[in-house]
């Protein structure tokens, strides 16, 4: 154990020194503020839901307990998914592993130290943001202190079990496949499962439950609700313990708690035993260079982009090739693909025909809101691809700095590289959803034109903020979106989208109603319409220029 603690010390010291190197409190307070808002929001929603359930006669407790069981199952699945990715990184891909493996320490102890780090990294956020849900149960059910102690004592073994199971899967998988490829495979599989689950859930049409005609299915639904989950699942042990504590059956709660802890210790024992045999073998295999999956011809790209200026062509080709060859980027594509599939699917199943509000009005209202929604999807995609595009230069950024290309030109080249694909994607998204909604030509033109002017603004914010807050040393720059700069970009982009939407809402409603009811707009109304669109247009121009200038100013200072 002494060696394991020794291996964990650099991490502890780095954490301590991070506090010393802290330049200011702004970042801390910003993150803490947003985190607290989320925390309070989760608590408020879950408390409200539970209070509502309590009012449902006979079924209140069944619904609350079923919800608790589902939360624990989702909690467990999330932990498994995040632990697989974290443990893969910690055990096989971290840059300091070569140094650590050179130490006179048995490989299973290195494994154990790394596994502890991985467990903490993958679990803390899930725990922090599920605690308010469990707290709301305690408050609604007016439990004693034992329930709150039980929450902590139950969540710990659940985290340990999920992390140990994930590490075990990773230990076995790395012996068969290269570690960097496994990451893409797991992300792909995870997202595929997520989409399938989501679509199956939608196909069940839970909204039928509010329809009295479907009452027979409601009975089946409640019958299903009272069916217990599999006793082999660790989330069931946690659920049984928490349920017992909620109902005041403390001895039963202790029994299930003991079941969880014994399961946790057993799986740790199995892990260490397997690690003793397989960990170094897998690590050694990871050191071998990867064979390229696809080979592309260098000259093909050069001929295709020959009409472009040299530096622009250089960066475009470099960006495309790096993107396709870097398998860590593939997971981003899977993620975005899942987001788009779910987004489009939701529009295809909107039940307009059953709404009491006039369909044409509702369809166009949705189309208007969809503009903002598509812009938010665009923000998410920009955050994943354009925002980290400066950081992705990494340690090789000296090449840009020493080349005869100014930082301004470099940022603008990056802007145009990402603008065109993102513009095409956002237009396809908005046109496809409008077609699914069957909107009027006016709304179609409005959406297409608004997105055409908003996309450059969002992309410029991504590139500008990415340039202002680069992270050239991160092992995975695509995760820089969760940094301070990423957060600033998200906030700015949301504010910009919100402002443009508000500016357009009034005039669009007026023009749309005038069209439906067949009256003409007055002179003053026209002034309002044109004025609002003009302000939105000017805002879009500023949204391009200002972030790019800010990014340039900060990046020039950063390099010096």
């Amino acid at each position: 154990m002494k060696q394991v603690i020794m291996l964990l010390k650099p991490r502890l010291w780095s954490f301590k020194n991070r506090g010393i190197a802290n330049e200011g409190n702004t970042r801390f307070f910003l993150f803490a503020g947003i985190g607290t808002i989320f925390w309070v929001g989760i608590f408020a929603v879950s408390h409200r839901v539970l209070v509502y359930f309590q009012k449902v006669e006979n079924f209140g407790d069944i619904l609350a307990f079923k919800l608790l069981s589902m939360i624990l199952l989702v909690f467990f699945s999330l932990l498994i998914f995040s632990s697989i990715l974290t443990s893969l990184s910690k055990l096989y891909l971290s840059k300091d592993l070569a140094l650590v493996h050179a130490l006179p320490v048995p490989s299973e102890k290195i494994y154990f130290a790394r596994w502890i780090e991985s467990t903490l990294d993958s679990s803390w956020m899930v725990i922090v943001y599920t605690i308010p849900v469990f707290f709301s149960y305690g408050i609604v059910y007016k439990t004693g202190i034992f329930f709150y102690i039980d929450i902590v004592l139950t969540l710990f073994p659940l985290c340990i079990i999920s992390s140990a199971l994930s590490a075990l899967v990773v230990l076995l998988a790395v012996v068969l496949l290269p570690a960097s490829r496994i990451r893409s495979i797991f992300v792909f599989l995870g997202l595929a499962v997520l989409i399938i689950l989501y679509i199956s859930f939608r196909l069940l049409k839970p909204e039928r439950l509010v329809n009295p005609e479907a009452f027979s299915s409601v009975l089946f639904y409640f019958k299903d609700l009272s069916t217990p989950s599999s006793p082999l699942l660790p989330s069931t042990w946690a659920f049984d313990s928490l349920k017992a504590a909620l109902t005041g059956n403390n001895s039963n709660a202790m029994f299930h708690l003991a079941l969880s802890w014994s399961g946790a210790f057993f799986i740790i024992f199995v892990d260490i035993w397997v690690a003793k045999v397989l960990y170094f073998k897998g690590f050694s295999k990871t050191q071998a260079a990867l064979v390229r999956l696809f080979k592309t011809q260098s000259k093909g790209f050069n001929i295709f982009f020959s009409f472009l200026d040299g530096p622009v062509r250089a960066f475009i080709i470099k960006e495309i090739k790096t993107f396709w060859r870097d398998q860590t980027q593939w997971s981003q594509i899977f993620l975005i693909g899942a987001l788009i599939v779910i987004y489009l699917y939701n529009f295809s199943v909107l039940p307009f025909e059953k709404s009491p509000i006039k369909t044409i009005y509702l369809q166009n209202l949705f189309s208007f809101l969809n503009m903002a929604l598509a812009a938010f999807v665009l923000t998410a995609i920009t955050a994943r691809f354009a925002f980290p595009s400066v950081s992705i230069e990494g340690n090789a950024f000296w090449i840009v700095r020493s080349s005869p290309i100014s930082i301004r030109a470099f940022l603008w080249i990056k802007f145009f590289i990402y603008l065109f694909p993102l513009l095409i994607l956002s237009e396809i998204l908005v046109i496809a959803t409008n077609m699914l909604l069957n909107v009027t030509p006016f709304m179609m033109y409005l959406s297409v034109i608004t997105l055409f002017f908003m996309t450059p603004g969002v992309v410029a914010m991504g590139i500008g903020m990415g340039g202002a807050y680069p992270d050239f040393v991160s092992e995975n720059p695509s995760q820089s979106v969760s940094s301070f700069g990423g957060l600033i970009f998200m906030i700015l982009s949301a504010a910009y989208i919100g402002t443009v939407t508000i500016l357009e809402a009034g005039p669009v409603y007026m023009v749309f109603m005038a069209d439906i009811k067949g009256y003409k707009l007055t002179y003053l109304q026209w002034v309002w319409v044109i004025g609002s669109f003009l302000v939105a247009f000017l805002l879009s121009i500023l949204a391009v220029i200002l972030p790019m200038k800010f990014g340039e100013k900060k990046l020039v200072v950063f390099q010096r």
């Binding site: 260098s298 250089a314 080709i317 090739k321 790096t322 090789a396 700095r401 020493s402 080349s403 005869p404």
Partner: protein
């Protein structure tokens, strides 16, 4: 070719480089030596336009680095001490990227790229990803890329780090050949034997200040040493400075 005037860089209260004055002629091979932390890399970064001086100026081929950085950089080939590259490109693709960046005529590209890859014994591995290269191979690739646009000034930080004996020999001969054709080479190194062998003049920097400049005999005179090699001169000069 290169003119450093009162060049200084301060990091907080630390004077990394302090009022450095230097004039290097075209075709000259200038060696820059000094102990760790003396200010060699900081000077190089300022010369290459990667770091803004706190005071003073850098002029390359008559062009001021502060006011016309892009023009000045076109004339420089930088070879840093650590070979950080775009790992997901092949060697040949990286050279093509560099050619595009420096506006090299693509008609001559293949011929030129192959010439340098061949000089540095990389031609066989030109179409493999850089991530599969060894440290020394990456260093050789950076050298090929730095020479691709026929720079008038080559700035090298620790040229021999990671190179095998064959690589060292190639670089040594190449520097001599380039110098005879009028290319200026500014070389920071800890390999005193190399500096002694190839440099026309040597500058010794310690604690941010240039403490001696000149030919080997000039330095011996400054260190008041009649017999002995550059190593002896180096220790004499730097230890004298440390004592004072």
């Amino acid at each position: 070719m290169i003119y450093l005037k009162n060049l200084s860089k301060h990091f907080g209260n630390t004077k990394a480089v302090d009022r450095l004055n230097l004039h290097i002629l075209p075709g000259e091979i200038f060696g820059f030596i000094g102990p760790n932390g003396a200010g060699k890399t900081t000077t190089i970064l300022m010369m290459a336009g990667l770091l803004e001086p706190t005071e003073g100026s850098v002029t390359v081929d008559g062009i001021d680095m502060a006011s016309q950085p892009e023009e000045a950089k076109k004339r420089i080939g930088l070879i840093p001490d650590r070979p950080f590259l775009y790992e997901k490109l092949t060697g040949m693709e990286f050279l093509m990227f560099t050619a595009d960046l420096y506006g090299i005529n693509l008609e001559n590209f293949s011929e030129k790229a192959e010439k340098f890859l061949s000089i540095f014994s990389l031609l066989d591995r030109a179409h493999e990803l850089i991530e599969s290269y060894s440290h020394g191979m990456k260093q050789r690739l950076i050298m090929s890329a730095a020479l691709l646009h026929d720079p008038r000034l080559i700035i090298v930080d620790e040229p021999m780090v990671g190179l095998d004996p064959k690589g060292i020999k190639i670089v040594r001969n190449l520097f001599r050949e380039l110098s005879s054709n009028g290319t200026t080479i500014f070389m920071s190194t800890h390999t005193l034997k190399l500096a002694e062998d190839v440099c026309d003049r040597i500058g010794v920097i310690n604690k941010g200040s240039l403490i001696a400049t000149g030919t080997i005999s000039d330095l011996k005179e400054a260190a008041q040493i009649r017999k002995g090699d550059l190593e002896k001169v180096f220790f004499q000069l730097t230890e004298e400075k440390n004592d004072s």
